[in-house]
């Protein structure tokens, strides 16, 4: 993947990603919380297929390309489920072991015809794949799914890739939105988007819709989640960069006591600390993406790099947005002012796929094992 490719991608993503705050506000509480027309535009630019091989309708690039897109979408607070569908669900399918499903579904994902979302966590959440509360069991000669899955990122998806405990271990199943026995209970998130709990009551599953058998499900899901974790970190980077820019502009122009408030050293030094957190996030994300792009990268190294990036990005985004709010004063606490959109999105993305504490623990466990 050449630097030129990445540069072109960055330019086109930057052009596309300007904040439409009115749209972001309008989509709060809507079902679905994103727009199919925008999704189609993204597909038109090839973004939904960056990680999909060229012979399946994608661009065949690696995560560095997806991260560039995610960062720009983060800057502009796009509610479209890029990380959840074009990274997480797409990679779980791609690294599963069902060639026919890949042939059929990956081109549709690349073309933006369908949106997919992973369902893998139980009531408590967390990063442990073994903590799965959906069972795949034989029932009257057929395979069915029972149980529930929470923190599903995109309840408005057309299909879910569901992690289930089968007779031989973890499996991944493709379950369409309208499947009999599937119930979707939305949960409102801080930014007005919805997550969901899915309940499975003897939902039909079959070998024909099994994305990954127990031979590959665990590794495919972990790979998909680590990559999505890095994409979420990139989205957080774009978001914090923008929140910091807004704040710096405010510090330069807001006049009190006859001078810009940004001339006060007490605020300058705090602004520098926000900047340092952002630059640490950028450097750590870049190092992690480079590590993951290396063909010799082990799953442990990948997990460690993803945790490092997400721990910093989650912590830094929240720290920056909270400081931004304080520096703006009361105007920052109003819903009318755009800063709050950034803080609320930071809360959602920081918690998604493991917050700073969860990734700190995982990083420590991996370091100790190494």
């Amino acid at each position: 993947m050449s630097d030129d490719t990445l540069r072109m991608l960055r330019d086109s993503a930057a052009d596309f990603a300007t904040l439409d705050a009115a749209r972001v506000r309008r989509l709060r509480g809507a079902d679905p919380g994103f727009e199919r027309s925008v999704w189609q535009e993204m597909a038109g630019m090839g973004w939904l297929g960056v990680l999909i091989p060229e012979d399946l309708g994608g661009l065949g690039l690696d995560l560095r390309a997806a991260a560039i897109i995610a960062e720009q979408l983060g800057r502009a607070l796009y509610p479209e489920p890029y990380g959840a569908s074009a990274v997480a669900a797409t990679l779980a399918l791609l690294h599963g072991d069902h060639p026919d499903l890949k042939q059929r579904l990956l081109p549709q994902l690349a073309a933006g015809e369908i949106v997919a979302s992973l369902a893998w966590q139980d009531e408590r959440g967390g990063l442990d794949l073994a903590q799965c509360a959906v069972a795949a069991r034989e029932h009257g000669g057929a395979l069915v799914l029972d149980g529930s899955s929470r923190f599903v990122a995109t309840p408005g998806a057309d299909a879910f890739i569901v992690a289930a405990r089968g007779a031989r271990g973890l499996e991944l199943h493709w379950v369409e939105r309208g499947a009999a026995g599937l119930a979707c209970e939305p949960e409102m998130r801080a930014d007005g988007s919805a997550g969901a709990r899915l309940r499975f009551d003897a939902v039909a599953a079959a070998a024909g819709t099994r994305v990954a058998s127990s031979a590959s499900a665990h590794s495919a899901l972990q790979l998909a989640l680590d990559h999505a974790t890095l994409a979420a970190s990139a989205e957080l980077l774009g978001l914090m960069d923008c929140a910091l820019e807004m704040t710096l502009a405010y510090l330069r122009t807001r006049v009190q006591f006859g001078k810009p408030i940004g001339s006060n050293q007490a605020l300058q030094h705090r602004a520098v600390d926000m900047y340092i957190q952002k630059e640490l996030t950028r450097a750590t994300l870049a190092a992690a993406l480079a590590a993951v792009a290396d063909p010799g990268c082990t799953p442990e190294r990948r997990a460690s790099a993803a945790s490092s990036a997400k721990a910093r990005a989650s912590q830094a985004a929240l720290a920056i947005c909270k400081e931004a709010l304080q520096m703006h004063g009361a105007i920052g606490y109003t819903d009318e002012y755009d800063l709050g959109l950034y803080l609320n999105r930071a809360l959602v993305l920081s918690a998604w796929l493991g917050n700073a504490g969860a990734h700190r623990s995982r990083y420590a466990a991996l370091s100790q094992a190494a």
Partner: protein, 389 residues
Amino acid sequence: MNYGVEQEQDWNALSDEAFRALVRAEVEAHYPAELRYPPRRLRWDENKSWYLRMAAKGWIAPGWPREYGGMGLAPAKLLIFLEEQERWGIARFQDHGILMVGPILMRFGTEAQRRRYLPPILACEEIWCQGYSEPNAGSDLASLRTEARLEGGDFIINGQKTWTTLAHDASHIFVLARTDKAAKKQAGISFLLLELKAPGVTVRPIRDLAGHEEFCEVFFDNVRTPASNLVGELNQGWAVAKSLLGFERIHIGSPKLPEYGLQVLLAVARARGVEQDPVFRDRLAQLQLDVAQLGDIYGHFAAMVGRGEPLGPEVSLLKIWATETFQRIADLIIETAGDCGGLAGKVPMGDGRIEVLAPFYKARPSTIYGGSNEIQRNILARQVLNLPG
């Protein structure tokens, strides 16, 4: 010419693994065991046997280009070289000649200056120290008052420098001196080289809070140095000095000291039996991430240096993050040590002896020297974030 130093081979042609193995074998076989992980800066008498060996081997200047007698290591190889020194706990020496004078002369010096000064630096025959700070010119370095006037073929220097690291081990000093008192602050300063044994120089060590004598005061009373020891143009010394400051900030920003701090922290935690305590583990993980990410951002700036790109004011963030991370680690060491946290020297703990307070005493001044962290924040606020004055 290569200034008298031949390299055995093109190190950059080796694979990273092969080069690492070679460096590791060298340090493990020959570095004196009693000098590993010293709790303070060693004096030249204590560690010269090792550095004279490195000089003889041609390994004293890993980052210098080969044409100047260095190893000519590419950034990735240089990082490996430094990592292996760190892994084995190799003591730093008074390396201002290697880290500062060499790069300065390569960039601003004359060919005659390079021929005169680079070979003895490479042979460790001449040891350099840095004469910047003065009693009334600390953070505000440009207000310095040590003056040099040209008389005949010599500069005559009068004044005082302070916080001069290991001046008592040095044979030479590079100083910033005022050569035009009428000009505004930065405009009238020149960069001069001189011998410490020149008549009129007095070096007086300063005892620090840790009880060590690592830095000194240096007094100049009508000290002469030939005009040929002016580096760069007359009254243009500030530009020369500033190029070193960027260099110093990246050097202070290396993950070396925080990594050493983490090693001490782990040793203290083991001795106290709190390694598996969940509160300790979470705080340790945060610091491990802080250090690993310092490595990521250090790598970013080191790669810029490797590509020959100038370092902008952004590099100040590296100094802030490195030194404050080191201080957080040192603080957790003391807290983890509990009752042993107030004991001086090597403290018996668990099965061994640990100098619990050594990282603390190393870390405290790190936010003061090299431009205090407050000054670094001012620089970032004004020059990078464009906040109003």
